[in-house]
Symmetry: D2
């Protein structure tokens, strides 16, 4: 059928999952994607319950992702899922992604890409080989004003970029929640499920991705101090690092989950020779643009003077705040537009292709491993380990 909604299958996201529900909302918002199947839990009963609550047909609620990928691949083309959304903990990223890609399904994957950098390299190769679309959901680059920031920096209006400050303070791991039957805390603090990075893997990668995206620069070396602040924790729950970028710019990245009382206010500041800009999620519909010699400008989402990327990624006129879910949804929407274009044999627009992908994922894993290595090193600078 022409013009059908794109069909999504989900891996993970069963009872107790936070990010699974977010992915579903993000996929729902624009009415262009339909959840048709899922393997929501490794516990068959839980998967079934989840699927029923999501109004799925019983035969398309699977008890394992492997089963789902195999079964769906056998369905007629117009019926089977178009892509799979993988929202499991990090240790269950690589295998289902690999399997889905090799079965010909496009993939949306929650960040970070994999459990390790070596897995990421391998997955990158699989993605490249597949020629399929791959989206890694680094939420924050989905915000229209973050896209506006990138476009303005890219235009050169600030001159060469000199400074990048990015911060991501959270406080929710200030106590040993992982000992209190908190599923979110448990897997994130368990190296077997989370990988080498704790806070750095969970939120540091977002901050890193945001910094590179907005500045248009690439990190070349860093000097990290990661900490396990809460007694007994196995992974970093806090850290900061000095940054050096390929063009000589310097910066700072701070990410912590023990800043008691902080919520999730990721913020980035970038400065060039002539001016700079500041964006923070707490005031996500604004972008402060600062100048050496004229008034600061407050760019606002939904207005008529924005660039093509910001405009494309807004749904409402100015003054109707869009938030985290819409930012997330922008990645889904752009991914879906690209997949639909391919199905229709059309070229995607530049704005549609602007979602995080395999390169972001690979660099994110390199970031985690470099940060951890640097933190253990007595030397100041550690080269970016890509």
């Amino acid at each position: 059928m022409k013009n059908a909604k794109l069909k999504m299958g989900m891996i993970g996201g069963g009872p107790g999952s936070f990010i699974g529900a977010i992915h579903r909302i993000a996929a729902n918002i624009d009415g262009a994607i339909e959840l048709v199947c899922g393997a929501f839990s490794s516990d068959p009963e839980k998967s079934k319950q989840a699927g029923q609550a999501l109004h799925l047909q019983p035969q398309r609620i699977y008890t394992s992702y492997a089963d789902m990928i195999r079964q769906e691949a056998r369905l007629p083309r117009e019926e089977r899922m178009d892509f799979v959304s993988i929202v499991t903990p990090n240790h269950v990223h690589f295998e289902p992604a690999k399997m889905a890609l090799e079965a010909g399904f496009h993939v949306v994957l929650d960040k970070p890409m994999t459990l390790s950098l070596s897995e990421a390299h391998e997955l990158k190769k699989i993605i490249d080989r597949s020629g399929l679309h791959f989206c890694l959901t680094h939420t924050y680059t989905g915000y229209p004003m973050v896209k506006q920031a990138r476009q303005m920096v890219h235009s050169g209006m600030f001159g060469a970029i000199r400074k990048v400050w990015v911060e991501y303070p959270q406080g929710w791991l200030s106590t040993p929640l992982e000992t209190e039957d908190n599923k979110q805390a448990s897997w994130r603090t368990d190296p077997a499920k989370s990988g080498k990075g704790g806070a750095m893997g969970d939120i540091g990668t977002h901050a890193f991705n945001l910094a590179e995206y907005v500045s248009g620069l690439q990190l070349s070396q860093l000097c990290a101090d990661l900490n396990q602040v809460v007694a007994g924790r196995q992974l970093d729950d806090d850290g900061a690092m000095l940054l050096r970028f390929s063009n000589g710019a310097s910066g700072v990245l701070m990410a912590t989950q023990v800043a008691a009382g902080e919520e999730n206010n990721v913020k980035v500041r970038v400065y060039g020779e002539k001016g700079g800009l500041e964006w923070k999620q707490e005031d996500a519909n604004s972008l402060l643009v600062k100048w050496l010699d004229k008034p600061t400008e407050l760019y606002r989402a939904g207005t008529g003077y924005l660039g093509s990327h910001a405009s494309h990624n807004s749904r409402t006129p100015a003054g109707h705040p869009e938030g985290y879910l819409e930012a997330f949804a922008n990645h889904y929407r752009n991914f879906a537009l690209c997949v639909q274009a391919r199905k229709a044999g059309q070229e995607p627009q530049a704005e549609w292709l602007d979602f995080p992908g395999a390169d972001d994922g690979l660099r994110g894993m390199a970031f985690i491993e470099t940060a951890v290595k640097s933190s253990q090193s007595p030397e100041k600078w550690t080269p970016f380990l890509l």
Copy 2:
């Protein structure tokens, strides 16, 4: 089928509609509602195009709402739409709502309720008679922190309420846009389509609804000064009024569409004997709570200390901003929960019933007509015309 999504039909919302797209997103977000049919435009071709773009089955894209209501009513119960969402300009509210209700369909209706107060009285009777669910989409009371505000005021923690200040500044009608082929501006400034109120009908009713909702008070008289600021405009594009509430509290309402440079920053402040609170859409995830003798408190959406109404109406943890679309979606979600409960023969929870309905609609129309009457009167106070 047990546990199917709720089925929605839409009236209006074709090409060029702003609010139709908003309603569809709001219905989509939580994955509990499915758009199954629509009569999107009085122009059959436009309706068809809209329906196709929305992935509807051809036979359920209708060319008139009357046709849609009749045809759907004949479908088997498990197939036909459960409710209709009416997103047309004001002059096409009463008839389709009446027809849908009389055909047994629940109704979601964009505000204001009708073209006139007398229509509103009649529609209220029809709603009451039908026993069906009716939701009037006064967006702003869908915000979790607005619900928190209401619940705190209702608890009595501020003592008796003394002051209510509400404001709604917009600037988009600062120029005669209606002469420039702007569909949104055209119908809003045309008395035949908009009714007696211009800005007061469009945004003043929102401000009024928000004030009564948060304060828990009812307006008893007002003193209005409405203006046609832009030359040639037939309806008020600006106004302000002094308010008196049934308990003796006083207040001010300001609503304008000619505050050049303003977006849509609706804001309400309520003060009692012991403290007060402030909420504004621009910082929608915060609620400022002020006290005579202790620090101001910043209540935040998604936190663990909120009341049941705010908590029920959030999707994300603290620090993941939800916005206008989620506020809108909260009305749809609560409406849908009530409809589903009825279908299941269950009692709805108090939190589900917390969406604007027929009484809000009727009071809103009374507000418009009282404001217009007062503005034309040389006397200071005009009693609320319910």
Copy 3:
């Protein structure tokens, strides 16, 4: 001696005075004014104590203002005070101001000008006749960004002004403080000392003055609703009014002292055909400038791009916040510059003359009496009673 500091005498400002201490700080800041004498209290012992604490010479601590004015007038010109600063409650404004002016002393007077409009008319004549400098300390027009706002509006860059919203919320009179031996509350709520206006006289006049100053417009009629919210209070502690200006612009003024939890956040918004601006004391070093079709601009105190009035009234570079005391001091400084210029036989600059004077004082008293009259009237509009 050439180039001596200007010599100030003070009337009022003894123990328990709030505003007296503020005036002294304002006079001190710039090191151009020296307090040389005072009659600080009608209680001779209290006056003496105050004078000693202020390091005055014993013979210049007076026990009555009449005595001070007479004695100082007899001192040699280079020794006697140049001007008098009157910081008593309202009922002791007219007599000392009259006496000082008639004795040849310039006058700084706390607002409002007098106890009644008729006194104000008479004082205005005395001032005009004297040819002396007269400053009425409407603090808020002393802020550099308020001056910037006025200069921008005056330039015409916003087109004709259409809307003026001004608000002044306080909460400190939410309880009957005047029954609890609170000197500030006592006289402000006593008609014999405060005049016809309570909150309107105390803070409403500031809001009114700010609105006319920034907009460059004059109020022509108003519709007021004043309230005595706290039981037993004799004067209004709360009020709001609709405004109409001479050019046809409309507006709203809100001033209350029973908004529990509010401090002193006076705020003004002015909108013209092309844009508008917003200033609030809570963020006094910023001025938001809004436009129909380009980003909002954030003008900041101390920057290089400001107009001559804002620049002249700043002491520090951008980012070094100046506050209430500096705003107050700007009036003293400009007044002192004018007095010094006169002593030197020079013409004052336009920027120096920019402090509130007799006309502001007269209009302020007219505002109070018009507001009170309107509040008692069943008619909507009351003409401005100048």
Copy 4:
């Protein structure tokens, strides 16, 4: 004469000085200090002009600080200056301070303490030996809400402190201003006048002092990356560093003068086990207090619920913003209260003694030298070089 104002002499602060004027305002505000003499410039003519403009007696306008100290020391005790305020560039700190102290004068000195750490050690000894009062004007700890922050942290209400983030972004040195006859830029970028630190000496020391003051912790090691961003500059104009404190807490300090468009928004955040706080100069009258499990609190200057230190350092009630000059003046006022107490043979109160002194100065110089050393080192951590 009993109860005379305290007499101040000034060294430096002639034409073109920024900080000299600030010191004079700070000394003036509270009317307790009188400028009686000065050596304002090494150019006798400029010193004379400055002294005349400041209304000094001709015989007390000196052409060198050495002359001033000698001459003043010979005046009768009740006539001569009580203390000297030194506001020269860094290379003229040590000698005049030493000379003044050895002549028996108390000293106020602009930061940083000296040109080098070794000078600082020596000056510290001289101060200790003298038994005189010494104030180093680290402005930011003069703010009432910074004092409130320190008192709250000290109370233990947040539990053990874990994180300290402090930042100080400026943009005014984004271009090579020092080549354009800008006096402020010239000496600050000249190692002979400024010492080893550029931005780190000028503003990094403020940030460092603020971090230690609020957290109550002492820095034990750091890892710095200092940069000369603008081509041709001899000293760092930018830098950041990782911090480790004596109790095991970690942190970050960022200070730059090339963040184009930034003004002077120094900001500090401190987090403990149970909550944290945030203060920034841009909103100096507020202190955000954050908690793991209850609403964020907004503490405000001038309110009744503050601790003794904040209360003592406010002049106005809540909602009357005090700023940079009042913060500066708080140091002068507390210093003056201590000097007056000594003259009266009384014990100073704890609140009066709360101004930065010799230990702060010494630690500040150690900070600069440690930062510079670390920046040149390939090793990650450099111990604090006290």
